[in-house]
Symmetry: D3
Subunit: 186 residues, 6 copies
């Protein structure tokens, strides 16, 4: 039943507006327990000369891509060991933690740390969740890993979850959990 | 800059309205990159005789508690091995997965499975994230574990993350990842 | 899909608001061909000090009953030959036309004209339709008549339709059509 | 005094929007007794990517012509005995009733039934009323008939009313009342 | 024709709301040249738990009296030489200018300066105008002066205008023009 | 905190809309004491076929220039003794009053009256204030005068204030106060 009207400056892409409508609907559905199909969202778009704050016209900020796309693009680049592409998505103070690694501050550190643990590893992603916080966006990627141990034997179906914290369109933190230690010892 | 008006049936608690305003603001901030302090949310409340769909008045559904509170209540009950309280939060088809456990279908199965792995374990929670999906809510709890191994030695600072899927106010799935296997072998 | 918000002064009864919501929904459904269950109506009620036109507060007018109730009340009074009650619903310049009667200007004229045509007549109403015009409301009542001819034989199932024009809550015109002439000659 | 805002998908014709504004104004005037010139209606039009229900964009349905135009087009075709044109406006289960005819299920039945009753008949229409119901639209056409009896003598000024029930843009029912029986016997 | 909706926190007095509606109507009438009686203003009031900025509830500020009342109260106190009451309306950096006085920084300076110019002076106010600026409110008071010259002869009908600049509810500046010099020399 | 939505017919210039937004913001800031930067104004523009009053579409009136521009244009023309240009801004019943002049009804009268008082006079404008009333707009222009006395000596820094009453885009009244009498006698 809830109905939502958003006043926005015009200029956002159809993709962003769709993402926005869906995310607002999800929040309303989750919190009020109304059925999504009973929730309507209307986006009113305003030209800059039809909006003012403090009597001054304003312009919309730079449009940001979908958080999940940014994360997936980063993960693909990392699987391909294309560090240059991956690095474009990172904030200056990016840190990451893997099982047993402690905090690593650069992709080079990660590559060094992972050497000797497996020949390669690939993700099969089952789910991506996005949590919007007031200042940051958190993206969760989960699924299973497959790859080869240093001795050439293969593994697959190993559960993992990656948690990314994004500030604006940059990744500031990656935390990884998985069952590789159990798989390795079995 | 974006401004949001929500039409709602009256009767929701101040807590729910606050949670709603914050979650909607977070979505708007995250997707449009507007600063939260420039985002206003106005909730218009309507008495049942001032709202109709298809010409019929409607009443609001049952109010649901905050998802993070439900999850934390469940986790506390489990730490205290108060299975009756914990079970009240579970959907009939609840399943859970722990590192190396495969899918478990009941709390009794979990208790049996964990026996012999540790004497007890306690969570220190650092962060809770909530992701609203169209049909389900996903809650992530992360932090560190401390406890005692079967031989009485203690451990602490072991990273964990729990992912809960909620449908309405019931938990339908719990997936757990942690570094206990690494800690045990070190 | 259409969504409708009405700003109204507060003070109208729940019955009037329900009638209003239903009539607005019907118009939207009829003209846009949207399904009624996809049409929402929200009535915003305002206290007098929250509304102004030309800078002056206003108060709502006298609330009027449902047009169909006024018409049915009039018809019942006429069937009971309770002319005083019936007359309360009539505008000063009320006129009526029955099959073959020409325009009649008073209830007394009607009673005189109908004398000798039947001993009594009663309506079984199947349908009432209400058409809202910019200045007047038109109410249609249809169904069948039963009664007794002057010679005491009975009739029933005779089709009729009455058309009433209302201005504010008063009837200004009644036009009647029926198959009594056919029934009488058969 | 009441003010009405309608959120609509864009794409409707100016004619439909005018019809909608007038019909909504009529309902508001009739039910609240506010003067029409004090009633304002604002139609907000939204592009498909600015509206969602359940998080999905929607498109407006097929635009339907004015109900009164459809009815008048049908009546003109019938006067011209252009049954093919008339038939295009009929629903599959269309039925009609004339004074003394009982229910007729096809235009051919009507032509057969009317044969021998008059050589021809033409309508002079004085008024058309439209009543919007939740599922159907009812259109009333009234005025006088003129024509020729089978013996070639003429008649005119005979009162009639036709009631049409429309579902979407198709006629599902026509009920006719008139004073032809009285005129024939006089 | 323009229609104006204001979202406000609830709690403002009826007087303030009336003042607000009239001032907004005046601006709309003046700038769009619409007739005031065609301009409607609707004030939506929101409880604090129905409004948020940046996800935080807000409370309305202290309600300020009408600027013209504050100015008139000050002028009355000055006519009565009730400097204590007058001083309550002044900002710390209040300055005033009278014809030929230069800038005066205190009421005591004014009293000293005016000594010897007239025995007393009283205002007959014909008009008060209020101009709202983004940061300040300017109030203009005009009319005629009457009083006694030092030699006891009387004067009247001497034109004057006072211009007051207010910041919040305090006077920061008073500028006075009048024809006393002409009257004195005639 | 207050948020303001204005429904307007489309067609107004960006300048008018900016003037409108600023003036409405000023009124809201002045009366509610909210900070301007917390006040948002949204102008919804409607095509004529999306607005109706009394069921009839309307068109916007002729757009009027900024009141302060009209006044300044008039003052410049007067300084240049370009009476034809100045006269275009005057209503038929325009009157003006200068210190000691009484009411003057035409520009020619003014020119005659001022002859012998000064050779020329020029304004240095420091401030323009605009006060919107329900029927009229009042514009105040203030600053200092400089010029030459009849004997060729110069003056400057003489305080003045002009008050203009405008009805629609025409000046109906000008009242002038200044310290020329004091300056002349010193």
């Amino acid at each position: 039943m809830p109905m939502l009207q958003v006043n926005l400056l015009s200029g956002y892409s159809g993709q962003l507006k769709n993402r926005l409508s869906r995310a607002l609907t999800s929040v309303l559905a989750g919190i009020t327990q109304a059925k999504p199909e009973a929730i309507t969202v209307w986006l009113h778009e305003f030209d800059p000369d039809c909006y003012s704050r403090g009597g001054e016209s304003r312009t919309p900020g730079q449009e940001m891509g979908a958080p999940e796309s940014i994360v997936l693009d980063y993960l693909t680049a990392m699987e391909n060991r294309d560090l240059d592409t991956a690095r474009k998505h990172l904030a200056d103070d990016f840190v990451m933690t893997f099982p047993g690694s402690g905090e690593l501050g650069s992709l080079e550190q990660l590559v060094a740390w992972s050497k000797g643990r497996y020949r390669y590893v690939q993700k099969t992603i089952s789910t991506v969740d996005v949590a919007y916080g007031m200042d940051d966006i958190t993206v969760f990627v989960l699924g299973t890993l497959r790859g080869e141990w240093p001795d050439g034997t293969e593994f697959e179906g190993v559960r993992f979850i990656d948690r990314f914290v994004m500030h604006a369109d940059r990744l500031v933190r990656q935390d990884v959990w998985n069952d590789l230690a159990i798989a390795a010892s079995s």
